[in-house]
Symmetry: C2
């Protein structure tokens, strides 16, 4: 393990754990490390160069992965007048973005089930149940997910009252 940097061990451990978590859900570990560091860094804005140094990673990797995180909607690029460096920070409502992504996935699964049913029009009804269930549950979540997400946003807005912005 290369600990040739001056970050407290616990912070780097946290970063590594977020990396492993991201890997678990099918994303590059390095994207998780970046996200992890952006969760705890002070200040929350960090430059490409700073990230490369803290995470002991190549510029190329950082560049690719920050773009990946931006594309996911989890991170945003911020620039400061008179400073040509780009800074990155966690996007507000990053997690709702992920929910929206998930919604697309659910839609794909529903469509796939529908296409499967098309292939089985002449099959006995009990053979179609598997696909029918797959179709119906995804159609159900496609309806419900946005409603729950909306409730979250209302609840969050309520909490923010009295805590300024």
């Amino acid at each position: 393990m290369d600990l040739n940097n001056d970050q407290p061990f616990e912070q780097m451990h946290f970063v590594e754990e977020v990396g492993l978590m991201f890997e678990l859900i099918g994303m590059p570990r390095m994207s998780g490390r970046i996200f992890g560091w952006l969760l705890i860094s002070e200040p929350p804005q960090q430059s490409n160069t700073a990230l490369a140094e803290v995470l002991q990673a190549s510029k190329g990797s950082i560049s690719t992965m920050t773009r990946f995180l931006i594309q996911l909607g989890l991170v945003e690029r911020v620039s400061v007048p008179g400073d040509r460096r780009d800074y990155f920070q966690i996007k507000a409502h990053a997690w709702s973005q992920l929910t929206k992504q998930r919604l697309v996935q659910i839609g794909e699964f529903r469509k796939l089930a529908a296409r499967g049913l098309d292939l089985m029009t002449s099959a006995p009804p009990q053979y179609k149940r598997r696909l029918q269930e797959m179709h119906d549950i995804h159609a159900f979540w496609e309806r419900e997910l946005p409603l729950v997400d909306e409730r979250w946003e209302q609840e969050e807005a309520k909490q923010r009252i009295g805590k300024d912005t």
Copy 2:
């Protein structure tokens, strides 16, 4: 592309699409192919040998991936008296199983956020917002997901009335 089997092109295309979908969500493509075929096969029960033949895959791969699907709770093994082959079929309520898996993941994210907040006890409050939001939204989903899932099971039970089992 090896089409050295007598399955209609459209069925194999469907199988391949399910394979790609599984890959997209971080699972082995072959596990998706097996699941895809089990969605449309007639009958819904298929033996290890039959799967290997239809999908043009090795016995080893099929053996490993069926166990993987069983472990996920998506597929179950069924045996027939007087037939020593094992058969596999899609499990009823397979998708609710996946929801339960997802719930565990959400819990892990919430805990991770909590651990992050522990590292920042002495940081200025506005720096803690990122982690606070991460924590709160996951705690929210941890409460809501089981409720929505329960509603689905009720709705499904309603639909089954009049359609026998």
